[in-house]
């Protein structure tokens, strides 16, 4: 009866408290964060999923120590709702136009022609950034391009999958995603003036069992092994402010 209960609670808590760190991070951060944890020898339980899945979890009361998203809006919302501490930007990514290897398309202008696109849905970071870029384009181009959109993807994987399988001709993703396809896709850089600042926000989750660990983990991301690992994975450092 009692004592067995106690021990199990003991067990439950020790796993979390014993310096261990629980990290929920956007799927695209997986290579960087795993490398970082190894390099810095951090005993971290890391869960990688869509930024919004993780946000939904936190809204449902799940409390990892660190929440790292592929954008800043989701952490900001959670912060506004008092679920996480003030988020900080720890990295930026570059949005590119991805096309299957050997595609005819080599610039934004080709997108107005007879092609099909997959882009992120509204509310999904990659989707919002894509709309930002299109917004910058001269008048009629955005409509022409949006007309060619045949799928609004809830996550980057959907876009990448369709591109690699040739289901669509082009799509907007992060350069890191293209790197991940091992050459199946080619990235077409966007004019620097159009490039949105794709900022990644990270925050300590309220009620975290290991807030100190969380904070030092975040610090490590801003400079040190974390920053290096991010750079190796193709991320850019946060804009100096």
């Amino acid at each position: 009866g009692d004592d067995s209960d106690d021990t199990s609670t003991e067990a439950g808590s020790t796993t979390a408290a014993g310096g261990e760190l629980v990290v929920s991070a956007a799927a695209s951060l997986e290579p960087a964060f795993t490398a970082y944890a190894e390099a810095a020898g951090i005993d971290a339980k890391q869960s990688f999923a869509g930024s919004d899945d993780l946000a939904a979890q936190i809204r449902q009361g799940v409390t990892p120590d660190v929440y790292a998203a592929a954008n800043t809006s989701l952490p900001d919302d959670l912060y506004a709702d008092g679920l996480v501490s003030k988020p900080v930007v720890f990295a930026t990514n570059t949005l590119v136009l991805a096309v299957p290897d050997g595609s005819q398309i080599d610039s934004l202008d080709d997108l107005t022609g007879d092609v099909t696109l997959a882009i992120g849905d509204e509310g999904v970071p990659v989707g919002d950034y894509t709309r930002e870029i299109l917004g910058e384009l001269p008048k009629e181009e955005p409509e022409a391009i949006l007309d060619n959109v045949s799928s609004l993807e809830p996550d980057v994987a959907g876009i990448v999958g369709k591109l690699t399988q040739g289901a669509v001709d082009a799509g907007f993703v992060y350069v890191t995603d293209v790197v991940a396809t091992d050459g199946a896709l080619t990235a077409i850089d966007l004019p620097a003036d159009l490039q949105p600042d794709v900022a990644y926000g990270v925050a300590v989750v309220d009620g975290a069992e290991n807030p100190e660990g969380a904070q030092s983990f975040i610090d490590g991301l801003l400079e040190g092994e974390g920053a290096d690992a991010l750079a190796d994975a193709g991320f850019k450092p946060p804009p100096p402010n």
Binding site: S51, T116, G123, P154, Q165, A167
Partner: protein
Amino acid sequence: MNRRGPFAVLLVAALAVTLAFLILPIVAIFADTPPGDLIDSLGSDASRDALWLSLKTTLAALIVIVVVGTPAAYLLATREFRGKSVVVTAIELPLVLPPAVAGIGLLAAFGPKGIFGSALADAGIELVLETAGVIVALTFVAAPFYLRQAQAAFAAVDPDLLAAARTLGAGEPRAFWRVAIPCAGAGISTGMALAWGRALGEFGATLMFAGSFQGITQTAPLAIFASFSTDFPAALALSAVLVAISAALLLAVKLLGRSPLLGGVQA
């Protein structure tokens, strides 16, 4: 023989636990959703389109599955041949594919670059990013459930009944239609319910193979997922509506299951 006893109590307990466990999360979703939202979520056309598309596509998929799957299941149940268990296993494999991978597989098979892609293109059949594609995806993920269930149901039919039908001048088709199907009726309708439910909840494969475009390929689960990041409560509300509607439809199937065609006795 419905007497109370420790065993009966155990049975009831088991059912109670099962029921509680399966129902609670659904109740929770409703609890999280103010009734108002339910109405609102029906208000937006995105939701209405999605629900309507879901009903259409799942129904279409179910029809395809039943029409093609029933004879296939009957064959598996009534014939013995070498390598049969391999075939049966093959039918079960789609189950273990994670949805997104299933989608990739479908693209690799029926997509533009896929094995069959060109053939389909020549035939002027467009699946990818089309409503037809949704149906294909749903069929792919839901079919195994119906096939195996129907096979089990057919296998449980006393062969002498089919034999009797034959001696009464019924060819195998008539024996199949007038005896095998009614006798396996209960099992078959169960299989239909399972396959339909599975199709209705399908998400990953559809997304990967058919994409997510309102009114064309955005089924209810996709719409729910889409609004996840933008309007979480709306997402839950839509889920609740989806559950409510399908509950109603599944109940209807049950009542249909009582009809002569499926299990009852024809007076």
